[in-house]
Amino acid sequence: MFIDKSMTRKVITIRPEAGIIEAREKMDKHNIRHLPVVDEDNNVLGIISDRDIRSALPSVFSASLEEPAERERILGLTVGDVMTEDMITFTPHDTLTDALLMMHKTKKGAFPIVDWDGKLKGIISIRDLIRAFINVMGLDQPGTLLCLVAEDKVGQMKRIVDAITEEGISIGSILTARHWDEGKRAVFPYLLTVNVTRVKRKLQDMGYTLLDPMEWSLEGLPVI
């Protein structure tokens, strides 16, 4: 799960000397919220977000835009003036989870992806991560979710996966979670088939309980 498989490669960029109004227009046109700022050699100098621009502009309720001097000052603001220079970047061989955790920690929406020489290779945004997550869960393929309860001991997943595989069913993903009963685990295989009757019966015969999904709720989980 390396970033280079999920990042956006065709990056819309901007130069530091461009005006912030131009930057905003570029974001609107491409329906994006972040522009990496690069020089003529594609070296990354910073990143500018729609929020950086909004913060630099006076509120629409303030009258300051009417004043010629203030108007002049705003029109003169460049991307270089408001961009974040002290930015977080990743390389194409960092992982998606690196980016995910960093977004969670910093609340940033996108990071430029640069090679070892500091040249721009791509950008990874929340949207790219959402797409990757949908893909990892197999949600872009038709399937059925099973909800099972298993003993929390070694070898359970293998038995479950084997049983499903023996039925000739492809697995889109498997998520597991703590169960409210001590020593149990909830297992959620996402099966890429409509035909789940037999495999459900088989898993029940093997001793697994089919969880009623509606009994499964976060309130049921033990508090950490």
Binding site: P142, G143, C147, T193, V194, T197, D212, M214
Partner: protein, 318 residues
């Protein structure tokens, strides 16, 4: 008593899906036997319709030529499945699907000419998962979608309402009509976070000119009659109240029944009757009684037979 058509043909049994496949010929056999055994000569009160091979151009009003050729070729080469292990085929599968569509088109003609009031089509294979260029979930040709386009092209029907109560969302039908405001697609089904195929969320409402002409009522696992009745009243009855379909088509799947272990929805036999009584009621109100109901899923064979008999008795009326 209404004049109710009944499309059934022994050749629908020729689509063989192999042992242990839930979409089996036994489903139709059970339905037929149930109707034969029913009191009061139920079968003799129906207007029997036989299958006929559809002209390919009517398949093409919905499906790509590529899909049609691939399906035909796969069958003639003796392949055992098409694109996915769910879609088992045999040499006769293509012809069976062509016969099902042809029979449905004849049923449409009979109804539009006034020779029958409504009809039930006991066909295989089912259709509502099939997309323009994709077979899936036991479905090859989208029977109900072809019927809707045929009503528009041949009979110039302006507003067609489709009700899909199969427990799985009819992704194919939705996909085909999502930008078409002349076809209102309504589906009630088990919530897509749990059930196949993973579409049919409440926020899927159509697109472009068809926005607002697709409506989905997902139902959480374990729920049953109360939730279904509430959602149908809130969503379907209200929608057809303003849309006023000139013809109603039904994707009739019976796999939401409590005894059908294909799903986690727990509908009673009575609730299926309640649903159909209301659909027939809406047809009386908006579409001069015109309803064509087409079989989709339903895999608890004995239960399926009983549910279909009730369904047909409701179409017949008193």
């Amino acid at each position: 008593m209404r004049k109710t058509g009944f499309l059934y043909d022994e050749r629908f049994l020729l689509h063989q899906t192999g042992p242990e496949h839930p979409e089996s010929p036994e489903r139709l056999l059970a339905i037929y036997r149930e109707l034969e055994d029913a009191d009061a000569g139920l079968l003799s009160r129906l207007i029997r319709i036989k299958a006929r091979r559809a002209e390919q151009r009517w398949i093409e009003i919905v499906h790509s030529i590529k899909l049609i050729f691939r399906f035909e070729e796969a069958c003639s080469w003796g392949m055992k499945e098409l694109d996915h292990p769910d879609n088992k085929i045999c040499r006769e599968s293509f012809e069976t699907a062509m016969l099902a569509v042809g029979g449905i088109l004849d049923t449409v003609d009979l109804m539009m000419k006034g020779e029958i009031d409504n009809a039930f089509c006991a066909v295989r294979p089912p259709g509502h998962h099939a997309e323009v260029n994709r077979v899936m979930g036991f479905c090859y040709f989208n029977n109900v979608a072809i019927a809707a386009r045929y009503l528009r092209d041949k009979w110039k029907v302006q507003r067609i309402g489709i009700v899909d109560f199969d427990v799985h969302h009819g992704n194919g039908t939705q996909n085909i009509f999502e930008d078409d405001p002349s076809v209102f697609y309504y589906s009630i089904h088990e919530h897509p976070s749990f059930a196949y195929p993973g579409t049919g969320r409440e926020f899927e409402k159509g697109s472009g000119e068809g926005y607002g002409f697709t409506l989905n009522s997902p139902v959480l696992p374990g729920q049953g009659d109360t939730e279904y009745k509430g959602l149908l009243q809130r969503d379907l009855f209200a929608a057809f109240g303003w849309f006023k379909p000139e013809v109603i088509l039904v994707s009739a799947g019976f796999d939401a029944h409590i005894d059908d272990d294909m799903s986690d929805i727990k509908l009673s036999t009575e609730c299926f009757s309640w649903i159909m009584e209301n659909i027939v009621g809406m047809a009386d109100e908006y579409s001069s009684g015109r309803v064509i109901s087409i079989l989709e899923g339903g895999y608890a064979v004995d239960r399926l037979a009983e549910l279909v008999r009730n369904h047909i008795e409701i179409l017949l009326g008193d």
